[in-house]
Symmetry: C2
Subunit: 285 residues, 2 copies
């Protein structure tokens, strides 16, 4: 399980302000802080963006890439901004993402072919409803793969996001378990080693007690790793979550163990703010 | 996943000394401290015992039962001591346990029939070697069930212990994952909802760094819960492990979630040293 930083979000006032005023510095500082924690990639989440989405996206990507060579997930539902981001990016990019929503099938999915990029596919109905059970999720996954192939995108290019539900939903805990089972069994259902991605922060949406939220996230991230999740999106600066995630990844994946491989609790990482190199190993296995 | 306290161990000098000098007080004090943490049961581990194993076991059981009505796992490889414990116990008891070792098949397994008790069955070869992979574990599980039925013990009475390996073994991490898969798939292989039990402390055997050991145990206990483990043996006084275990159990089992169900981190439990009642619900489901 590789960790992807979800810290570069338009929902953060600091980022929103920086984009609005075209101020590079706060973006660079945040990227540097994230890079120190050695994520596999950075999710660049601009949301639908404002008046001039393409210019905003170009500015955002340039600001991020000025201090890192890490792969970027371009995370917007605006097809014009997505295209602008893909054109602007020099780092490796992943499109985040498409679903069965007609507008995304028509305007976002073809960009994966045009830019020869991996693309995240969400297990959601065309109207963004969340499926009710595992069977519905498998059906949607098959449909996403079918749509991708019809658009000239190899199914191996699609990274499935089964959409971690908030536990606060009436059946949130049942759905959270369904997501684990889908991650575990999807490769068998689809017949190839499909990669999966999941965001942790959704699980605790609505929690008022931060300590309880953290305990749940720590347990769930271990379950996700054990189920075979390939990419976990999380606040990479939240050491109390990142440490268990790394330890769980080690338990779930390594073939040989040594105590030296275990990151200590809240271990200080080297204060090296140079950007991490591109990881050429963006494959399942 | 229910928690079972493994604190009453002969390997602890305090317990060894109490048994030797027939001093009830230290045993009672420890049992009371454990009961406050509301385990499902207590594992009473006497090892092979000393000169007069039967008398020692009777004393140990009586000391424990003088302050609690919790179910007890009687944990000894000495058949005479096991019988003495079963005869002495007033609380509900579980025999811990048997394996394919001829002496245990002959002398321990029949006690499950005689005393109408559940019995733990270890996935080990007759010479106590640990199986190398999942297939070998399934074979041993089938053989254990066969031996149980031949001894007049219903297979539903057997609780399988797949034996959590130390990560420090050459292939410990691979075996630790095999144990998870065995727990997950054993009910399907055996064709009924077989219950499983696992001890957490074995995982970190040989670890010098306690903080790293704890991180690994926290992640692994979440994976065990997610795999469907029914009973987790652990140091019930180690809050930093018990809290994640309870949160993981909640994620793995509950049908309806509310934030109030989540134990807070290092939350003080009520200072009630009265013994917990017997849990009549010692069934899978």
């Amino acid at each position: 399980m590789k960790l992807i930083a979800d810290n570069l979000r338009i929902t953060k006032p600091m980022i929103r302000e920086a984009l609005k005023s075209r101020d590079t510095r706060p973006v660079q500082e945040l990227v540097k802080r994230c890079a120190v924690q050695r994520p596999f990639a950075l999710d660049v989440n601009t949301g639908p963006l404002g008046k001039n989405p393409e210019a905003e996206m170009r500015f955002f990507i340039a600001a991020v890439e000025s201090v890192t060579t890490l792969p970027l997930l371009i995370d917007t539902s605006n097809p014009m901004a997505m295209r602008a981001g893909l054109e602007a990016a020099k780092n490796r990019v992943i499109i985040n993402g498409f679903s069965l929503e007609p507008r995304k099938l028509e305007m976002i999915l073809p960009l994966a072919k045009e830019f020869d990029a991996d693309i995240v596919g969400f297990l959601l109905y065309p109207d963004s409803r969340v499926p009710k059970n595992e069977a519905e999720r498998f059906e949607i996954a098959l449909e996403l793969m079918d749509k991708a192939e019809r658009a000239g995108v190899a199914r191996e290019r699609v990274i499935i996001d089964p959409v971690v539900p908030p536990l606060a939903w009436t059946d949130g805990i049942v759905q959270a378990r369904a997501v684990l089972n889908v991650i575990r069994t999807l490769p068998e259902v689809l017949g190839f080693a499909v990669r999966t991605i999941g965001g942790i922060s959704n699980l605790g949406t609505g929690a008022r007690d931060k300590a309880k939220r953290r305990l749940l996230e720590q347990s769930y991230v271990a379950m996700l790793a054990s189920a075979g999740l390939d990419f976990a999106l999380m606040d990479i600066l939240d050491t109390a979550l990142v440490q268990p995630a790394r330890v769980s990844a080690l338990l779930a994946k390594e073939e040989i163990f040594s105590w030296a491989m275990v990151p200590g609790p809240c271990e200080a990482l080297p204060q090296d703010t140079k950007s991490a190199p591109i990881n050429p190993n963006f494959k399942k296995g």
